[in-house]
Subunit: 154 residues, 2 copies
């Protein structure tokens, strides 16, 4: 399918604009080795199966397929790591770019991440005043790792 | 999607009828833990992504999605175990049931397996004279294991 180029930042909550029209995401992972991830995501009434390769910098191979909600729930219950990632996602426009702001819940409550998808690794983009440290390559923040080592356990 | 109930047998080659109209299958696996398998299969010009749960007797959860040939080749090359399973599959009718006869190639050359898909674990079916020992629960014959420990290495 293609390649995902994405950079991730922590957030200064006090500077964040008012968030609107969020949608909930619940996702789980089939446990793999070798840094390939197999993700089952439920987003409202939609569901997706997504396979991503090992990250190289901000870039990963990504293959995504829509699946039925029923399949997704069955896989989340029976085939994924017992713990899931739950978050609310808000889209925030900032100077011509769309940021995804994820507010985590459950065992990752307190964690907030801003992500921006890019067309190339060296694409320039203005940093909003509400983002702080970049964590793109910090594996602790990979959602696949947040099921096993959630933020509240750090 | 559903449940796969399948029984597997070894074959007495000398008693096998003439095989016709076989099609080649190439498949690889994203390496997982916990007995869930994530399979990428290319069958002629078609390709499928298949996720199966842990076997319980002859039964497994199974979720299968058609994907593009291009996605499949990319995943086989970049995300799967370096070794793939290659085989030719023949469909053989026997007293109202369709058997899949797989003749393995490459590092599994010499291995032949007959599989029958059932509607329930206790469904009765006549055994053709060309099948021998049942290997349904012998993990060495799981295709996902044949990439790491191929038949020619036994």
């Amino acid at each position: 399918m293609g390649v995902e180029i994405e950079r991730k930042f922590l957030i200064d909550e006090t500077k964040l604009p008012t968030l609107q029209n969020g949608y909930t995401i619940k996702q789980g992972y089939i446990q793999t080795i070798d840094h390939t991830t197999v993700r089952i995501r439920v987003r409202g009434q939609e569901a997706f199966l997504t396979i991503k390769g090992k990250s190289q910098g901000a870039t990963r191979l990504e293959f995504e397929y829509p699946i039925s909600l029923n399949d997704a729930e069955e896989m989340l219950t029976n085939l994924c790591h017992a713990s899931h990632v739950e978050k609310t996602r808000y889209l925030v426009e900032y100077e011509g770019h769309t940021w995804e702001v994820d507010i985590f819940e459950g065992s990752n409550k307190g964690l907030m991440i801003a992500e921006i998808e890019l067309k190339s690794e060296d694409e320039a983009f203005p940093l909003p005043e509400w983002v702080t440290k970049e964590v793109t390559e910090d594996v602790r923040y990979f959602n696949a790792n947040l099921v096993e080592r959630p933020y509240t356990s750090w």
